[in-house]
Structure formats: structure tokens, C-alpha cells
């Protein structure tokens, strides 16, 4: 896994967040959006994206249906479900907590000096 690949666990949250802010979106749109938000620091491999999308569908956090994109292409659109919205709350808190813990390790506490 390269430096700028996305972690599996975080990818799910990113997808959910993206759908929350953008509304129903196709796979390509989601990938582009995540890459943009990260300031092109992340590259979303399709081999990672689609299994992640499928997993979220299977877990019932998002739903998919076929539609037509802006430039008239048939595409599968993904949208958040109610369970998905709830999941965003839970996942966000979990990540914030994890991030906070990690932050403490990367900036050592003063006592240990």
C-alpha cells in the first residue's frame, strides 16, 4: 500500500461523508470528490473503492440505483440511507477519538521529558 493510498477503514467514512454533503453520486464522482478534498494527496484505487461501496450497500448504510449522469451517461448512483446517517455520527466519533489518541503519541507529553 503506497503512502497516498486510502486506508480501508477511513475510506468508508469518507464515502459516507461525501454522500452526506453531495447527495446521490456515482462511483466516479465519489472518487474524484475524495481526491479533491484531500488536495490530491490521496489516490482512490478502483479496486479499493468498489468493494468498499459494495460492502456499505451490503451493510445497508447506502443504497444504489441506476440513473443518468450530468453528461448523459448511464451510471449507478449511491445515496445515504437512514442507517448510514446514524453510522456517520458513530464512525466520526470513533475516528476523532482514535486521532486524538494518536496525536498524543506523536507529540510526547511533557512529563516524559
Amino acid at each position: 500500500m503506497g503512502d497516498n493510498d486510502v486506508w480501508q477503514g477511513t475510506l468508508a467514512l469518507m464515502i459516507l461523508r461525501t454522500l452526506e454533503s453531495m447527495g446521490p453520486l456515482h462511483g466516479y464522482g465519489i472518487a474524484r470528490r475524495i481526491e479533491q478534498i484531500s488536495g490530491d494527496q490521496l489516490i482512490v484505487q478502483y479496486g479499493t473503492l468498489y468493494p468498499a461501496l459494495l460492502k456499505l450497500v451490503q451493510e445497508g448504510y447506502i443504497a444504489s440505483e441506476w440513473g443518468v449522469s450530468d453528461n448523459n451517461r448511464r451510471a449507478r448512483f449511491y445515496k445515504l440511507t437512514r442507517a448510514g446517517r446514524r453510522q456517520i455520527e458513530k464512525e466520526s466519533q470513533r475516528w476523532e477519538k482514535a486521532a486524538a489518541i494518536l496525536a498524543r503519541f506523536s507529540s510526547p507529553a511533557e512529563e516524559s521529558l
Binding site: Y46, G47, Y50, P51, E59, R73, A75
Partner: protein, 884 residues
């Protein structure tokens, strides 16, 4: 939960993978094109845009595979693949598939049927609330002659139990229902009536559907005449009319008020059409042990308390009959679960059958292991190729196991169907009320048993072959068609030795039971059973408590029957040969050297024609005649056993019970013994008294227990005899129906029901075992022939004769069979001793039986070896050699 949901969705995705794949490639395609569009927008050339997009995609195949892995379950997908492969394989080998499924169907069918019995009798709870709080009381006598059983109780025990054991709700019933006549309007019905005490239904936890139960006050001697009807009787006879409550029905010639109706489907341990209060006391019936008791633990009490109270209450008794035969002994009482109490007598038989059925399963496993082993052997090159192409060992194993499982489940399903049919057949074989339970069903427990058995079977028969693939030597396996044939043959020989040994045990056990049954059926009956028709009627009727009416009925009906053309003699007796007779204790011998002795014997009242009708020989003195009326000198006939045992052969003119004089000795007849049961049919000391000299006061009780039989002897078969007998009886009493008509063979068959059933069941199982073993030997030899065709061809080309080749090929099968036979005989020597109590008239080591078993198995083994070996004769050495 989310994980579970995802798993289910993925499982769901398995069969629809193709559509999903198509949709996903469409999605990827649209993704790719959107990417290209955007790249073009940012100024790339179309080719460049496409290349960049494809690069970013990172390989369509890999992505598709990652998506597919997420979409389905890779493990299940391979199982799915294996499943389809297995089905294809099995379809292409119909012979193998049919043999396996048939073998499984028979063996699992046998096990399912027998297990249904075990389940219904021993495992399933009784159909009452809180069955664990229901009990039966066992008596244990220690000392010089110890015994232990669920003993019937007498009136004194009942009163003490009822009044002095507060830990229990106790109840009693008569020992079995009795046939009585129920008159409703112009219709007379013969129904089964049970006499029960006040709290009988409370012990069972049954509440009347409508109406009420008997009260304690109504259950006292000389209490009111009341009846509770079963739902079926209420529905069929009274059209489910609720207004019957409080009304009277004419039962046994007297009005009984109906006070309640039992709910639909209620079963009781005594199972009757209607229930009346037993109104027991210490007198009459209560002076002997004629009651069966059931108990229910009261809330808050423990079984220990109950047992302490029972032992205390019953220690106060005046009459400790239990110790009569074991002076100096100790008697104690204890409660056991009612389930055990009800089914104890059948437990050994049922468990023996289960064991025998288990043997069948083992034999079937051995056969199937042999078959799958051979099949695997044939597929060795195929498997080796797969391993060479990179299939993992685990993958190969998985595929083999899936195949076994498919077979096992198919066989299991066929087995459940076979078991269902076998069970129906078995229940048809059983006489009515033979089992102390209402019905035997294939319930969920039985189905689980069948499925577990099938899977366990597949593990058993699949294990051996699967293990042998571990030692697969790739190079030789691919190259050679004969592979490692030698050790496989040895393995199969071991299997056949084992199944042969089990077959010997089953056949020997079955043979002994058959010999035993033949012995019982061919016992000299002591009378001539051919040309005799009997019919039973209930005289438990207030009209016939009077001696005059009783005598008139017997005299007039028998003379009416004698008028039927072709009838040579007609008579009435309280009981028939082959049946159990009334046991009478305290018969006093008044004179001779045995004066003062009191003896116990069977007692039968008969009309004068009884001995002529049954052709029982009068050996000394004379038979009864019309002269022996109520006012004449009281006379008695004794049978040979009685004369020898109690009167030392000097019987004529002796006095019994003060006023009866012995006027003759008649021959012994085979009966179902009631005094000391050493065999299901035997001779027992018996006295016969003229029906006309019976004390009418005894009838009320005697006819509750026994329904006398009318007997006619005909010179030749008569068309419509039963109808004419019924009309003859109706000409004397139109409200007295016969309950049924029986030839003496029917009576004998009923007494020997248990033995016949044992023979039928064990016979079926032993037959199955023999068949499976034969198939086992046959397929072993057939396979050796098939495998060694080339070797035989070479041998014969080099000058070996067909006979030598056959001996060489058939040898392994015969040697295995011979070894199995010897082991089986040795094991039988130990195992068959357990059958001793079920055998009559023969020894456990019965040489004719064992010789027959050996003869049958040897001939079957030789046939099963020779037939496939005959194929050798058709081998053309030149052709087999060219084939290579």
C-alpha cells in the same frame, strides 16, 4: 447485526453472480468513460485520456475479482462449485449413486423408525403439564429372595397413601380398562371403561372440557354412579351435545350420570372411552393388589419427603404381602418418574432394537467406505492431475467431502421417507393398546436424529478414503492406473471382516428368537384349536349379578348356538386357553396327606360343553353335566398339573374349600401364565368349576376383570357363522352385543404378540445386515476383478488356468468373510447371553441355529465371491494385453 445482514446479502448473491458481474462491468465501463470524458476536457488527446484512465483503474480483472470477492463469499463460492461438480459426478455414475443412496435409505430408514420408538417411549415427555412432577411407586424387597418392580397396590396401601402422604396427590386406577355395554336409545355399544379414583385427572393435570371431576366424597364405597366421557365417545355417540351433562346413560344395565367431558386428544395411562369412580376399599377387589397407582408431587414438596412419607405410611400395615415369599426380607418403596414407570417393561426390547439398528448403520458405513474407496481409486489419476495443476490438498479434500455430504443428505432424505413407511408398517403390526402411549410420530427430534445420523454416516464412510488421499504419490498416481491397489484391498478386507462379524451377531440373535417363537407356537396346546370360533361379551351388568338370569343366559344362548347347522358343540368359559386366567388364592385342600394346605391356582368357570367344544381330554373321572346345578353337590375338575403338584396324582373324590369335591382330571392346556410367568405360554395349575354353581356375589367383580367367551365348534367352515352367533345371543338378550369374534389362532397370536414383533423387527434388521454384507463382498471381489483384469490376462497368457485365477481373485473376499464369521461367532458367545430372558424352549448356544447361521453366511459369501469372479472366464488374454 450489520455483519449478519452483509453475510446474508452475500449468500443471496451466490446464485445470481452472473447478473451482478454484468452490472458491475457496466458500472466500471461508465466510470471509465466518465474519466475519459474529463481527461479530454482537461485537454488530453482521446488516446492519452483513455490510457491514463485505464492506468488509474489498475486492471479491470483485478478490480472485478476484488469486487466479486466482496460480493459473494469465496469459500461458499467454491463450495457451490464443488456442489455442482459433485452432482455432475454422481449423475455420471448412476450405479454408484443409486447403491449408496439405497444403502443409506435402508440403514437410516431402519434407524429412524426404531429411534422414533425410542423417542416416543423413552425420551419424549408424557403429554401432561410438568411431567417431571409425576411419579410411580416402586417396591424393593431385599433379603433371601430380592425383587424390585412397580407393584400393584391393595386397598389398604391405597387408603394409607391417600390419607397419610401429604407430599403427593395420589390416585389409582384398575389395572386395565374393562369392556362394558353402553346403551343409548336403541343402540348398544361395547366400550372400554376405566375405573379411576377421585384425583386421577388431577394427577395427570387434565381438566374436563365441560363439567367437573369426581369429588373425594363421590369416590367412597357405595358412592353415586357417575361417568366422565372421552371427547371421542361424546362426539360419536352423543353428537357432542352439551346437554348430556347431568343426564343419565345406561351403562352395565344401570343409570350413570354424566358429570364431565374430557378435552379432545386427552390420553391417560389407561386410555379408555369413559371413566367411572373406582370407589375402592380394603374389601373385595381391595383385598388384593389390583390397583395401579400414579402420583403427582405437590408444590413445595420434594421426592425425598414423599418417599419418606410413603415408607412410613406403609410400614403401619397389617398385611405385608410383599414379604410372603421372602421371610426375613426388608421392603422399601421409592418414587420413579411416571415416564419410567410406564415404559420400563418395554425398555430392554427397545434398546436392543436400537443397538441392532446401530449395527446396521455400521455395516452400511463399512460398505459405503469400501465403495467410495474404490471410486476414489478410479479417480486417483484425476485427483493427481488436479494436485499437479496446483489444487491445494485442502481444496481436493473439500471437494471429496462435499460429494460425501451430498450423498449423505440425499440418502438421509430417502432414509426419513423409508423410516416413515417402516414406522407405519410397524405400528400396524402392533396390537391395539400395546404401547403405553397414544401415538408414535416422526417429530422434529426424530428428524434431527436422522440428519445427524446421515452426516455422521458420511463422516464415517468418507473418512477412510479421504485419509488415503493424503498419501498420494503424484508421480506414480498419474502414471499408473492400478495405483496403490494392494493396501486398499487390505483395508476393504478389514471392513468386510467387521461387517461380517456384526451380521453374524444379528443373524444369530434373530435365529434364536425365531426358534423361540416356533417353540411357543408349536407347543402342544392340549386342545384342538381348529374349527373353533369364540366371541366375547361383557357381563359386567347389573342384570347378570343375579345367578338365575346368568344361568338362563348361558343355557339358552348355548343351546341356541347348538341349533346353528354345522355347529357340533357350544359352551361358555370365563377364560380361554392361550389367555390369562383368573388367579385364585387360598384354595384349601381338606383331606388326604395335604390336608390343611392352602394353594393358589387359576380358576375358570365353564358350562358343561366346554371340554367337548375345545376337545380338552378328560383323563380321569367325568366331565360336568347338566346335573351339576346350583342345588347339587358342588363339584370341581382339576387339570393334570394341579393334580400332580398339589394332590400327588390322587385327585378323584378329594375335597377343596370344604364343599367342593374333585370329580375328574382334565388335560393341561397352554395358557398365558399369571402365577409364575416362566414363559409367555405354558401350563399352569388350574381348577374348573361349573358356571351354574358360581356364587353370584362374585360376579360384580369377576365380570369387571373378565369378559367370558362363547365357544362354538363346527364340523366344517360355516358361511356367516358370526352373524348367526350374534343372533343366537340376541334371541336371549337383545341388548347384549359380542365385542368381537376370535379364532383360537387369533387368541394365540395376541398372547405371543411381543415375540412376533421381536422376530419381525429383528428379522428385518438381520435381513438388511445379510443383504448389505453380501453386497459388500460382491463389490469387493467385482472390483478386484476389474482392477486386475490385465494381471489376470498376463497370468493366463503365461499358462494359469481359470480356476487358479478365480481362487487368486476370490481369495481376499472369502478370507475376510471367514475371519469375520469366526470373530462374529466368538463375540456372539458373549453377546447372546443378554438374550437369555427372551428365549423359551432353547438354549443360548443353540447348535441348529448357529449351524444355520454359519451355513447361510458361508453360502452367501461363496455366491457373492463366485458370481463376480466368473467374469474372469470371459477375459481374453490377448485383448487385455493389447489394450495397454
Amino acid at each position: 447485526m450489520r455483519k449478519l445482514r452483509a453475510l446474508l446479502v452475500r449468500l443471496w448473491g451466490l446464485p445470481r453472480r452472473n447478473r451482478e458481474d454484468r452490472e458491475f462491468s457496466e458500472e466500471l465501463q461508465s466510470h471509465l468513460e466518465m474519466h475519459i470524458d474529463e481527461n479530454i476536457r482537461t485537454g488530453m488527446s482521446p488516446e492519452q485520456a483513455r490510457r491514463e484512465a485505464l492506468l488509474k483503474l489498475g486492471g479491470i480483472e483485478a478490480t472485478t475479482q476484488a469486487y466479486r470477492d466482496q460480493n459473494t463469499l469465496p469459500f461458499f463460492e467454491t463450495v457451490w462449485q464443488d456442489l455442482r461438480y459433485a452432482l455432475r459426478q454422481l449423475r455420471h455414475n448412476p450405479g454408484f449413486t443409486v447403491t449408496v443412496i439405497l444403502t443409506l435409505a435402508l440403514s437410516i430408514g431402519a434407524n429412524t423408525a426404531i429411534f422414533s420408538l425410542v423417542n416416543a417411549l423413552l425420551l419424549k415427555s408424557l403429554p401432561y403439564p410438568h411431567p417431571e412432577r409425576m411419579g410411580a411407586i416402586y417396591t424393593r424387597v431385599t433379603g433371601p429372595q430380592p425383587w424390585e418392580e412397580r407393584h400393584h397396590v391393595d386397598g389398604e396401601q391405597w387408603e394409607l397413601l391417600r390419607d397419610n402422604v401429604p407430599a403427593l396427590v395420589s390416585a389409582i386406577s384398575g389395572s386395565r380398562p374393562s369392556g362394558v355395554n353402553l346403551e343409548s336409545g336403541s343402540r348398544v355399544q361395547y366400550v372400554q371403561s376405566a375405573r379411576v379414583s377421585a384425583h386421577y385427572l388431577d394427577v395427570l393435570g387434565v381438566h374436563p372440557l365441560i363439567g367437573r371431576n369426581f369429588s373425594e366424597a363421590e369416590d367412597l364405597p357405595h358412592g353415586p354412579k357417575l361417568a366422565l366421557l372421552s371427547y371421542n365417545l361424546w362426539k360419536n355417540t352423543f353428537a357432542a351435545n352439551a346437554s348430556i351433562l347431568g343426564q343419565s346413560v345406561l351403562l352395565k344395565g344401570e343409570p350413570y350420570s354424566v358429570i364431565g367431558i374430557l378435552p379432545d386428544g386427552t390420553t391417560t395411562p389407561i386410555n379408555a372411552d369413559l371413566y367411572i369412580p373406582i370407589q375402592a376399599s380394603r374389601q373385595g377387589e381391595g383385598s388384593g393388589t389390583n390397583f395401579v397407582c400414579v402420583t403427582r408431587l405437590r408444590d413445595g414438596a420434594t421426592w425425598q419427603q414423599a418417599d419418606t412419607q410413603i415408607n412410613h405410611a406403609w410400614s403401619l400395615r397389617a398385611n405385608k404381602y410383599e414379604l410372603a415369599d421372602s421371610p426375613g426380607g426388608q421392603v422399601t418403596y421409592y418414587s420413579v418418574p411416571l415416564q419410567k414407570g410406564e415404559t420400563d417393561p418395554l425398555r430392554p426390547q427397545v434398546l436392543t432394537l436400537m443397538l441392532a439398528a446401530g449395527f446396521i448403520l455400521l455395516i452400511a458405513c463399512a460398505n459405503l467406505a469400501g465403495l467410495t474407496l474404490v471410486r476414489l481409486l478410479r479417480r486417483t489419476p484425476e485427483i493427481a492431475t488436479r494436485v499437479a495443476l496446483g489444487a491445494s490438498h485442502w481444496r481436493v479434500q473439500q471437494q471429496l467431502w462435499v460429494e460425501n455430504l451430498v450423498l449423505a443428505l440425499a440418502g438421509g432424505m430417502a432414509g426419513v421417507a423409508a423410516g416413515f413407511l417402516a414406522l407405519r408398517g410397524l405400528l400396524l403390526l402392533l396390537p391395539e393398546h400395546f404401547l403405553p402411549i397414544a401415538d408414535v410420530l416422526l417429530d422434529s427430534k426424530v428428524l434431527v436424529f436422522a440428519i445427524v445420523t446421515s452426516v455422521a454416516t458420511s463422516v464415517l464412510f468418507g473418512m477412510l478414503p479421504a485419509l488415503t488421499t493424503r498419501k498420494l504419490d503424484l508421480r506414480s498416481a498419474i502414471a499408473s492406473r492400478e495405483a496403490t491397489a494392494r493396501d486398499r484391498v487390505q483395508l476393504r478386507q478389514i471392513l468386510i471382516t467387521g461387517e461380517m462379524a456384526l451380521t453374524v451377531i444379528l443373524l444369530a440373535a434373530c435365529g434364536l428368537l425365531i426358534r423361540s417363537l416356533i417353540h411357543l407356537q408349536t407347543l402342544p396346546p392340549g386342545f384342538n384349536p381348529t374349527g373353533v370360533m369364540t366371541a366375547r361379551a361383557s357381563l359386567d351388568n347389573v342384570r347378570y349379578h343375579d345367578g338365575v338370569a346368568f344361568r338362563k343366559l348361558l343355557d339358552d344362548s348355548t343351546s341356541a348356538m347348538r341349533q346353528i347347522p354345522g355347529v357340533t358343540e357350544a359352551a361358555v368359559g370365563l377364560s380361554l386357553p392361550y389367555e390369562r386366567a383368573l388367579n385364585e388364592g387360598g384354595i384349601e385342600i381338606n383331606d388326604g396327606q395335604e390336608a390343611g394346605q392352602k394353594v393358589m391356582a387359576d380358576a375358570v368357570y365353564v358350562t358343561p360343553g366346554y371340554f367337548a367344544a375345545l376337545q380338552i381330554p378328560v383323563l380321569e373321572g367325568r366331565s360336568f353335566t347338566e346335573v351339576d346345578g346350583p342345588e347339587a353337590q358342588h363339584v370341581v375338575l382339576v387339570n393334570q398339573t394341579f393334580a400332580h403338584k398339589f394332590l400327588h396324582g390322587n385327585a378323584i373324590g378329594r375335597h377343596l374349600d370344604k364343599d367342593m369335591v374333585v370329580i375328574g382330571v382334565v388335560g393341561d392346556v397352554a395358557i398365558a401364565p399369571g402365577l409364575s410367568a416362566l414363559a409367555p405360554l405354558m401350563n399352569e395349575e388350574t381348577i374348573y368349576v361349573p358356571a351354574a354353581q358360581m356364587d353370584a356375589r362374585q360376579f360384580s367383580l369377576l365380570h369387571v376383570w373378565f369378559q367370558p367367551s362363547w365357544i362354538v365348534r363346527t364340523a366344517h367352515p360355516i358361511e356367516g357363522l358370526t352373524g348367526q352367533m350374534q343372533r343366537a345371543l340376541a334371541s336371549v338378550d337383545p341388548t347384549l352385543p359380542f365385542s368381537g369374534f376370535y379364532r383360537m389362532q387369533d387368541v394365540q397370536a395376541k398372547t405371543l404378540a411381543m415375540q412376533r414383533i421381536e422376530v419381525a423387527l429383528l428379522g428385518t434388521i438381520a435381513g438388511l445386515a445379510l443383504m448389505l454384507s453380501t453386497v459388500g463382498i460382491f463389490s469387493l471381489v467385482a472390483n478386484i476383478v476389474a482392477q486386475k483384469t490385465r494381471e489376470i490376462g498376463i497370468r493366463m497368457a503365461l499358462g494359469s488356468t481359470i480356476r487358479e485365477a478365480m481362487l487368486n481373485i476370490g481369495g481376499p473376499g472369502l478370507r475376510a468373510a471367514a475371519l469375520g464369521l469366526s470373530i462374529g461367532l466368538i463375540v456372539s458367545a458373549a453377546v447372546l447371553r443378554a438374550l437369555r430372558s427372551a428365549l423359551y424352549g432353547i438354549e443360548v448356544y443353540d447348535w441348529p441355529t448357529l449351524a444355520t447361521v454359519v451355513l447361510v453366511l458361508v453360502s452367501v459369501s461363496v455366491i457373492a465371491t463366485v458370481i463376480p469372479a466368473l467374469r474372469i472366464a470371459r477375459i481374453d488374454p490377448a485383448r487385455t494385453l493389447r489394450e495397454e
